[in-house]
């Protein structure tokens, strides 16, 4: 773990140096943000506004020799809790008396802000510092990230000016209207984060635990029979795996795409025949599109406009 942290530090340092030479300074704020979110200790409360609904969330995030750990608790209604560490995600859903446990193999699919991605961002997004503000008591800079086409959303983000921690984020549609917002109302850095604060608080002893297993095939290893032709500009496959999910009898093939900022998932499963999405659906800033291809159900989902998920759904082809 220590070696991993060291490598991350070296990586980010190299990335910052690379960007200072090759990109405008605004891009560096994204790197700082990415690092801050994942490497800093913080505890706080934030609101998430989506679809006319306001959720108040409490977060505890810690990084130490044990790795990266996080606890997220909804403060509205029945308490729902999500716990994350380096390779596990546990969702405690009291209403259903379910505990959903997921496991990641290494860094599968994580859309890291790698130098190539960052440097290519300028081709698909216009990134500008547009002002200063104060969020949750912290002086912040405001970054505007405008897409150069209509295949992705825009963002306005508020970053704490010293470390780049994300304090507020607005997701904007093609007309610049706010679709989804999150904002910290209180955040504290470098506070000691005890193991106690990272333990689940929602009782779940008698809940049913469902697990999704995952068998990463790697982007460059086993060749998948499914290929993507004609993806939107800037998107690349960042991960591919076969997995067993709670609601599926059979393995599902999962392909993750990223343009460096937005992430899209493509799920391909043996067609169950019923209860599948045919056409479009959405939830807040997330759009989904489903269609049948060669007796399989293809479902594309991501925080991108509906035209983008549709295009990707139609770019799926069976290569055998």
């Amino acid at each position: 773990m220590v070696v991993k942290r060291l490598l991350e530090t070296v990586f980010f340092s190299a990335l910052l140096m690379s960007l200072s030479v090759n990109a405008n300074g605004n891009d560096m704020w994204l790197v700082k943000m990415n690092k801050a979110i994942r490497s800093m200790n913080y505890t706080g409360t934030y609101i998430h506004i989506n679809q006319g609904q306001i959720e108040t969330m409490q977060i505890v995030h810690a990084v130490d020799e044990a790795g990266e750990r996080e606890r997220l608790l909804s403060l509205n209604g029945e308490a729902r809790e999500i716990l994350r560490d380096d390779n596990h995600v546990t969702c405690i859903l009291p209403a259903d008396r379910f505990v959903v446990v997921g496991q990641l193999e290494s860094d599968f699919g994580l859309p890291a802000l790698v130098p190539d991605n960052i440097l290519q961002l300028g081709e698909i997004y216009d990134i500008q510092l547009i002002g200063k503000d104060r969020i949750a008591g912290y002086p912040s800079v405001i970054l505007s990230i405008q897409p150069k086409d209509k295949m992705r959303y825009g963002y306005r983000i508020w970053l704490e000016k010293d470390h780049g921690m994300l304090l507020r984020s607005d997701i904007l549609d093609a007309e610049g209207r706010v679709m989804e917002q999150m904002m910290f109302t209180q955040i504290s850095f470098q506070s000691p984060v005890s193991d106690e604060m990272l333990r689940p608080t929602v009782p779940h002893k008698d809940f049913v635990t469902v697990e999704s297993s995952e068998h990463g095939v790697g982007v460059t290893k086993d060749k998948s029979a499914w290929i993507l032709k004609g993806m939107p500009k800037g998107f690349k496959v960042t991960g591919q795996a076969r997995k067993r999910m709670p609601m599926n009898k059979f393995d599902v093939e999962h392909i993750v795409l990223s343009d460096g900022l937005a992430t899209i998932s493509v799920y391909i499963e043996k067609s169950p025949g019923v209860n599948t999405l045919q056409g479009s659906s959405s939830i807040g800033g997330i759009n989904a599109y489903g269609r049948s291809v060669y007796d399989h159900q293809v479902t594309v989902m991501g925080e991108v406009p509906k035209e983008t998920v549709k295009q990707i759904a139609y770019s799926i082809a069976y290569s055998n």
Binding site: Q53, R80, P111, M247, A262, M301, V304
Partner: protein, 195 residues
């Protein structure tokens, strides 16, 4: 600001502060702007927790006037308020003044109501030009979960949403928003049990 005063303010908001303490605290609130700000913040947090806030908040709105009435209900024994208890273990960290940013939130509900009481105690008024901007800047999205999807399909999509959140990138603030979707929409997830 001490924990004790924070507890008292929280109790006041919850209507759980005894008469004698209430009177004293209200006098302090009248002359202490910091306390007043905390009091407003607690009200807003309570409303958010009760899901009493309106559909959208425009956090950019310029507020011209904030008026409130010190008319919290009285009740029973003095004890730490619900907010105080809910905020623990964070309660020790003073709720940042910027929570009051919510208090200055421009509010639009169903594109109609321009002056929306965030609670019965708080009135927020807006400049007319700002009202127009708010109206233009928000997308009207229904409150439901997955749109245009049958319940059984919603169950399927929710399963994928949970999974997709694990790979959320910057667009979801590296997971913060994405997992909020999952936790926040447990209502819809739970309505259609994962099978």
């Amino acid at each position: 600001m001490t924990d004790t005063i924070n507890e008292q303010i929280s109790s006041l908001v919850d209507g759980e502060l005894p008469d004698e303490e209430r009177e004293l605290l209200q006098r302090r609130l009248a002359r202490d702007s910091e306390l007043k700000e905390t009091w407003q913040s607690y009200h807003l947090i309570r409303d958010a927790m009760r899901e009493d806030l309106p559909g959208f908040i425009n956090m950019n709105a310029d507020v011209t006037y904030i008026q409130y009435q010190e008319s919290d209900d009285l009740n029973s024994a003095s004890k730490p308020g619900v907010l105080w208890r809910a905020a623990h273990p964070f309660a020790g960290m003073a709720i940042a003044a910027s929570v009051a940013m919510l208090a200055v939130a421009g509010v639009l509900y169903n594109g109609e109501q321009l002056v929306t009481p965030l609670s019965s105690q708080i009135m927020v008024a807006f400049q007319t030009t700002e009202q127009q901007r708010i109206r233009e800047n928000f997308v009207a999205i229904p409150r439901n979960g997955w749109q245009s999807a049958k319940p059984a399909v919603v169950s399927h999509l929710n399963g994928y949403l949970v999974d997709h959140s694990r790979y959320a990138g910057f667009g979801s603030a590296s997971g913060l928003i994405s997992y909020s979707r999952v936790a926040g929409y447990d209502k819809s997830v739970s309505e259609e049990k994962l099978q």
